[in-house]
Symmetry: C3
Subunit: 151 residues, 3 copies
């Protein structure tokens, strides 16, 4: 049971995130689920704000990436009922709010990728893009979107 695994690892699957606007958290099209970009919010409030490499450390960024990844999983669950229906985590896109000269986006994104690996094992082996951006909604340190294949 995937949700038991999440708890065992010391994490909590949040309630499905509410969209900030005129869109939905996740959508299922045939056997793929696409999520909206998820910020590192806990119960609706950003847990971290600011730019990685200036306001926040890489370690903060990794923790923020874990939270965004869990919000993605929560969004996925909201449309498929149970994370046990996940057949494969397909792709993460990680947008990192980057201070000038901060070029270690992959390390920050590893916060998400490694947690996904611990939770899903081989089903968690995904492709990924990690890029820097100069600004994000509400000055969030990162935003993550996910594509998942379901059974």
């Amino acid at each position: 049971m995937i949700e038991d695994k999440i708890k065992e690892l010391g994490y909590e699957l949040p309630e499905a995130p509410k969209p900030l606007a005129a869109y939905i958290p996740a959508i299922k099209i045939d056997n793929l689920v696409f999520t909206s970009g998820q910020l590192p919010t806990v119960r609706g409030e950003l847990k971290f704000t600011g730019k990685i490499g200036a306001d926040l450390s890489e370690a903060d960024g990794q923790r923020a990436a874990e939270i965004s990844a869990l919000n993605c999983l929560s969004a996925v669950k909201s449309v498929i009922g149970s994370l046990d229906q996940v057949d494969q985590i397909v792709k993460l896109t990680v947008y990192v709010n980057s201070a000038d000269y901060f070029t270690n986006q992959p390390k920050v994104a590893n916060g998400a990728s490694e947690l996904i690996g611990k939770i899903f094992g081989d089903k968690g082996k995904h492709v990924r893009s990690a890029v820097g951006v100069n600004e994000l909604p509400m000055n969030a340190p990162l935003e993550i979107e996910m594509i998942v294949k379901v059974k």
Copy 2:
């Protein structure tokens, strides 16, 4: 009829946008259509230029987002013949040319999401990522790409 609805709402579906380069405006793969990133051009000319939060207001950005969304729909139409063949708007990715400290990308992107909602109703309920970027082609204020499921 979706195109009648677009007119009723006071908008005009443009001619299919011409690509700026060595690629095509949209492609259909099985029952999904992917568009290229669309700028807020009208008859080939950018309707707005500059950064949201400095050169342009949020309201300008919302209007630009409407135009880019219509260009996406026009690109979709070019490969499926009629927008009545749209089964579901799946996803928007909205890249907002953001001045320093501008963090309201979701509000700008709502220009696109809300118009899609008015045009397509439930079939318009999509996922979305909205991120800031520091530069865009020809100093456009935003660029939007779309994924659509067709019947």
Copy 3:
């Protein structure tokens, strides 16, 4: 034979790129292959670094885009065995590390799009988004991800 074509054009298909972190270079889901974002590395080392429009010229950027595109193809090959199994190049997303005021991302991205066109002909006609970003991993000048349909 696609690999012969690549050689004829004077290019070399690299070894499959190694991921920088906890993810994989490419994944096949039904008949689609998604790649991770690929940097312009040759045998694990970045061939170019810095921002287009400041440290690097557009021509440098186009050459970097060719290299990233080849790395994408190598990643695709790693999961489908042969590039002759490619039915259609579907989409490129090109993130360009952009100096202030550099707005010619499409021209840089053409380095990738035009090479794909030369290699694959009609099967190479893809959609594309090209956007500027302020920072990229290891100060790479660009990052490209690809979606491909296979036979």
